[in-house]
Amino acid sequence: MREALRRVSIGYLVLAATAVAYLVVYTSRLGRFPTSFDYLSILNTTLPLVFVAIGQSLVVLTGGIDLSVGGMVSVCVAVTATTVSSSVFWLVVVLALGTACGALNGLIVAYGRIAPILTTLATLSIFTGLALRVMPVPGGSIPQEVRLVLTNPATPTGLIWLGLAVVGWLVLRRTRFGMRVYAIGSDEASARAVGVPAAAVKLKVYALSGLCSALAAVFYVSTTTSGDANAGNPFILTSIASVVVGGVAFAGGRGSALGAVAGAVALTLVIDILFFSGIDPLYQSLFQGLFLVVAVLLGTVAALAARRRRQA
């Protein structure tokens, strides 16, 4: 039991703490408990980040980083908002586009042996440029049918990301691919030496991150009902923050996609807490950054304490 408790990722603790803070701030400000509408709004605003964070967590677990998620979300948002209104078939195209963008990252990182941070910094710029080319001014729309399916108040969206979290967990924990992801993050040279096809696995991981970004973009457009070629930018920091707050080791090999989901929800709650506390939205990024630093410090201290205990 104590072992089980120790394994609980810091992400869940942070999520629980922020959820409590959210409830306290909300009720003290508005004098009532949050309604189902509030919960739904949280779920809707979190969902894109949850997607991106799952993709990011896969990449970070291999010891890499994907800065281009911002660009991939942007370009997919732009394409979705300008095309999907004409035919739902374009949805498939958008998902393929995101996957292709991610695969490009993967090819460069895995076969070109260029550091992930450089590769994805460069492709971030490329993808953002493409997004601006597709959609020079904000606008566009998404068909009502798609919107209704994706954000129908009668079918709680929460189920979607619960499902997603389960899929993410299954992929990482219950497939050989998942085991290989951890192996590469733990020690890539050793993983190769024992027969893990590291390059192929990394290619897949980056492609999946692209797919996750595309999914995020589709949900983003259906909740905001319009697109913007810079829509993806905030996801760079927030997805990395979610992964780190969620307890994924930045050097790779340790952590889980579920933790990243918890981190993503916690991070979104922080914005809501700021909103209800009446803090100027200008300071939003400042407080998100602070939250990130505090959460990471807590995680480090907890890990150190656990190590001390183990050694004693």
């Binding site: 924990r173 219950r174 998942g178 733990s186 020690d187 050793s190």
Partner: protein, 515 residues
């Protein structure tokens, strides 16, 4: 040297019979260092083939080329007659039946033992999903098949001892029932009993028709196990023989003849106590007392895992003591961190250089200077000239890297030279107490000899040395006094040089029978 031995083995044996492994004309350089030079090697199915040579002779590089981890700059590699030089991917070699246990070990530290063993072939349930609950039992079954019962399959690999990691690495390789088994220094971390265990399995694989290739620095293992021996020197094939005496082998390996095994213990410890430990409890230690004098080489013996490691780590401040006092030069001190230890004049040279001692991508000079940077420092800038002088003289003294530039990265050096770099770093400090933990592990005979002489020299300077080695022979010959640890206590004290390792072994196990 005979006619046949100077001929490349690939030429000798072409045609007659399909070879399991054949490399010919292989070149491979790292940076400016030519690790392999027109190297050839051939091994047949159904034989145990030893690969012998000094550190830096190119054995490990050849093994990495054979198993597909690195690419040869030139030359060909064939596995069962199929040319594979173009495909540099260990996964592909594995599919051809080539499995390798690496000297630096390739266990994934964050994964459990079970995950490490079953990474590429996990038990699956419905929908092809991995049965996580099945991992533990499946790993237990595999370990059980090889008679290993003291390793928990659910433990994280990073938490295992070096010997345990080595055993897991070997089981991982053996369990695949490979047609070609390559074992690089498989016995360096193993106790004698485990060496027997490994030898049994190697013979079994050979008898089943597999080709078993291994390297070792212990000649008696090569003698006992190998059907044939290939000797490498300076990155190239020197000879392949069915039988080879140790003296011949050493001459072939070094290109010169080689004197006795251990230097004579000529120094006498001083009176003054340098380090005194009373009632130390830490990790597996349950009340250790010791008194280390200046100029003394004090050996720490005993079976593996009796708390030797805990003792060294605690004295170096890397592990917390639960109880006990440490006195340096008569003054009680608290060592709470490695920083405290270094400031108090204690230096620690570990066995696992890669993980604990070296900055591999940095140069020899940077590595040696690392512990004494503040001494050659003006307003925050390192005085490079002074550094070059200080490092240069110590490098010459220890003959590190055969007189090549100290700007070379440490990871281009062989294992023995890397170990010398770590020792050189501490020599530059004024460390009065040296904790040497299995420093000769995986080091060739000539370098070992250099290290023994160096240890003697350090003691003669008045430094106090605590010495542990997994080779009991060393402790028996090098130390003024030997403490035998058993179950976390000092069970016996032997006056040195003990000479006969059997006496230490006997003291290590004596009371186990009574208990």
């Amino acid at each position: 040297m005979t006619e046949t031995s100077s001929m490349a083995p690939a030429q000798q044996e072409s045609g007659s019979q399909t070879l399991a492994v054949r490399a010919s004309g292989v070149d491979r350089a790292f940076g400016g260092v030519q690790a392999l030079r027109d190297a050839s090697f051939a091994a047949r199915p159904g034989e145990i083939h030893a690969l012998a040579g000094e550190n830096g002779a190119g054995k490990s590089t050849l093994i990495k080329v054979l198993c597909g981890l690195i690419k040869a700059d030139r030359g060909t590699v064939e596995i069962f007659g199929t040319e594979v030089s173009r495909v540099v991917e260990p996964a592909a070699r594995r599919r051809m039946g080539v499995a390798t246990a690496f000297q630096e070990l390739s266990l994934l530290p964050d994964l459990t033992v079970a995950e490490n063993l079953l990474l590429e072939n996990p038990p699956r349930g419905r929908l092809g999903l991995v049965k996580r609950r099945g991992l533990g039992p499946a790993a237990e079954e595999i370990l059980g098949r090889y008679g290993v019962d003291d390793i928990d399959p659910r433990a994280t690999a990073a938490d295992l001892s070096v010997a345990q990691r080595q055993v897991v690495e070997l089981v991982r390789v053996l369990a695949g029932e490979p047609r070609v088994v390559i074992l690089d220094e498989p016995t360096a971390a193993l106790a004698d009993r485990q060496v027997e265990w490994l030898a049994g399995h190697m013979r079994q694989l050979r008898d089943a028709g597999s080709c078993v290739i291994f390297t070792s620095h212990r000649w008696r293992e090569i003698e006992a196990l190998a059907d044939r021996v290939t000797v490498f020197r300076n990155g190239t094939h020197v000879a392949t023989r069915d039988t080879l005496s140790e003296a011949e082998a050493v001459t072939l390996m070094s290109g010169r003849s080689f004197a006795g095994a251990y230097p004579e213990l000529t120094t006498v410890p001083q009176r003054e106590s340098a380090l005194r430990v009373k009632g130390l409890h830490s990790g597996r230690l349950h009340g250790v007392d010791l008194d280390l004098r200046r100029g003394e080489i004090l050996g720490v013996g005993g079976l593996a895992g009796q708390g030797q490691r805990d003792l060294f780590l605690t004295l170096f401040g890397a592990q917390k003591a639960r109880q006990g006092t440490i006195t340096l030069d008569g003054k009680a001190v608290a060592i709470r961190s490695t920083k405290d230890a270094i400031r108090a004049g204690i230096a620690y040279v570990p066995e696992d250089r890669k993980a604990e001692g070296l900055f591999l991508p940095l140069s020899i000079r940077d590595n040696i200077a690392a512990a004494t940077l503040s001494r050659r420092n003006t307003a925050g800038f390192v005085r490079r000239g002074a550094e070059r002088t200080a490092v240069g003289s110590i490098v010459d003294q220890l003959s590190i890297g055969k007189g090549r530039s100290t700007n070379r990265a440490v990871d281009t050096l062989s294992g023995g030279n890397q170990q010398k770099v770590v020792m050189a770093r501490w020599l530059l400090t004024d460390a009065r107490i040296l904790l040497l933990f299995d420093v000769t592990r995986g080091v060739d005979a000539a370098t070992k000899h250099d290290i023994y002489e160096l240890v003697g020299k350090l003691a003669a300077q008045g430094r106090a040395i605590l010495y542990y080695s997994s080779e009991t022979e060393e402790i028996a010959h090098l130390c003024h006094r030997v403490l035998v640890l058993r179950e976390g206590r000092v069970a016996a004290e032997l006056a040195g040089p003990v000479g006969d390792a059997e006496r230490i072994v006997a003291a290590s196990i004596k009371e186990n029978h009574d208990a």
